[in-house]
Symmetry: C2
Subunit: 300 residues, 2 copies
Amino acid sequence: MKEILNYKHLHYFWAVAREGGVNRAAERLGMSAQTVSGQVSKLEHALGKALFTQQGRNLVLTEAGRVALQFADQIFMLGESLQETLEDDTLGSTVRLAAGITDVLPKTVSYRLLEPVLGGEQRVRLVCTEGAFDELLAELALHRLDVVLADRPVPAGGQQPFVSTLMARCPVMIFGTAKLCSQYREDFPHSLSRAPMLLPTRDNVLRSQLEQWFEEQNIKVDIVGEFEDGALLKTFGRQGVGLFPAPSFQVDDITRQFEVEVVGEVTGVYEHYYAIANRRKLQHSAVETLMRSATEPHER
Amino acid sequence: MKEILNYKHLHYFWAVAREGGVNRAAERLGMSAQTVSGQVSKLEHALGKALFTQQGRNLVLTEAGRVALQFADQIFMLGESLQETLEDDTLGSTVRLAAGITDVLPKTVSYRLLEPVLGGEQRVRLVCTEGAFDELLAELALHRLDVVLADRPVPAGGQQPFVSTLMARCPVMIFGTAKLCSQYREDFPHSLSRAPMLLPTRDNVLRSQLEQWFEEQNIKVDIVGEFEDGALLKTFGRQGVGLFPAPSFQVDDITRQFEVEVVGEVTGVYEHYYAIANRRKLQHSAVETLMRSATEPHER
DNA sequence: ATAAACACTACGGTTTATTCGAACAATTAT
DNA sequence: ATAATTGTTCGAATAAACCGTAGTGTTTAT
């Protein structure tokens, strides 16, 4: 266990280094020189290194001291900055919520999940970032994000600094153009055998679930395309290249936008959406309301 | 006068925010919860803003709290980093001296000025940066440089955070190829009338001094080139394009390197070299020896 | 040579800050 | 309802910081 740095001592050290002497520093600080000298000595002892050496009747920074000064400069700059920022700000009137959204998430889903925080009594300013799952988690750990929305939870380790909350599970449908639909709607799902199919790439959670489902149904589809980007996949589907699966709370979200129709539902398969936040630190009021808004099976 | 931020309080706040509660934080800190709670309250009072609000039986960060947490993250990251850096390092065996060199300074002069610090009893690692005068001063103010070498002092204001020390003054000679020399050496300096001349640009201090000298000597030279870069100027001079002035401690520095000869000395004109450091903080042992090595210490 | 400036140390006493224990209030789980 | 968990408030005890005064040593200015 390491001792925590004494920032008061560091502050005196900083003053001495900047003013160029114990006496000048003490005067500026409104203190006696003995005290300042003593406190700096304690710091040196705590760090195990001399910060100054006496040269003639002045002090001179040692190499360690010069390193320490660099850090101290930054530290106390930040301290002042903190005070100033909190001082004059119009904070509190609006709450800022930094949300990271995994790029595999459909936009409409993102909106549905985040909607509850906007409806609260307090004004919320939403700051949305998109990115890869791992990148977003890193940002989350650094407190640069308040919450991450994803299609999978974190592996739930005991020492994990994150908590995942299941926000919703969304039924998965198979869509296609009107022409394709009329061809495959009958005798769904067995009609899908040999059907031309557009699927997400293998890194997508939905993909493996779908393959398992095909297996169970004893269907062997004809994969005519794989896509990383969900929107691109749907665009190809719209042109009638093949049938495609998509999660959907309300079918008309997709049928309207992409001018397609529903072939059928992938029974028993759901896409799950999770909100991930810093463990034990659900301390963002907006994150709290978000997590609370988690809905159980959202069947319609 | 503003109160200095209490970093101990901030540290407790930080722990509470990270652990997600006063109790957990207190446990980890090895303290009682009452203490932590009280200290955080003091911080809130000092900042004039609530950092937490009670929501149910948990704490939740306010917007101000979230801002504070961002700063605290950085601050204590730096604190730890400081300790680690000082801990295991081989510091002290060698001293690092970050010197900024104004790009108008001749390299040989730079070397001559910096040489004394290398000869000290302590090993010195020299880190040289080149740049414009103003840029280097900015770096100096931020403690990113320890000293700046220039051909001019800072304007010496009372509130100025810098001190300039005259390190040396260097006589100025006129050089030229052997052929040109033989043509103009006789009756120097009056022979220079109409002589082809290469001069530094007007931003150079030496330039105005030279023009004044020409005026005094009642000489009107023929300026065939102006150069920002001293080395480029000399290279042109080497080719016999014209005569050129150059400061020189030892004439053979230039005569040998550029295969030229001396036409004559610019009497009464000297180039001055200054070392500029942070005021009251000549606290770098290497800077001290540097300043001491000045031919005529010139405090202003 | 002498005085002034600067820094470090030591010790007793004072002031301020930190800390804990106990009691209290609010919320959630059983 | 009761117990468990969480956070806060209130003195009293403890620890740290701080100030005098006083003495030592060094270097620089006169």
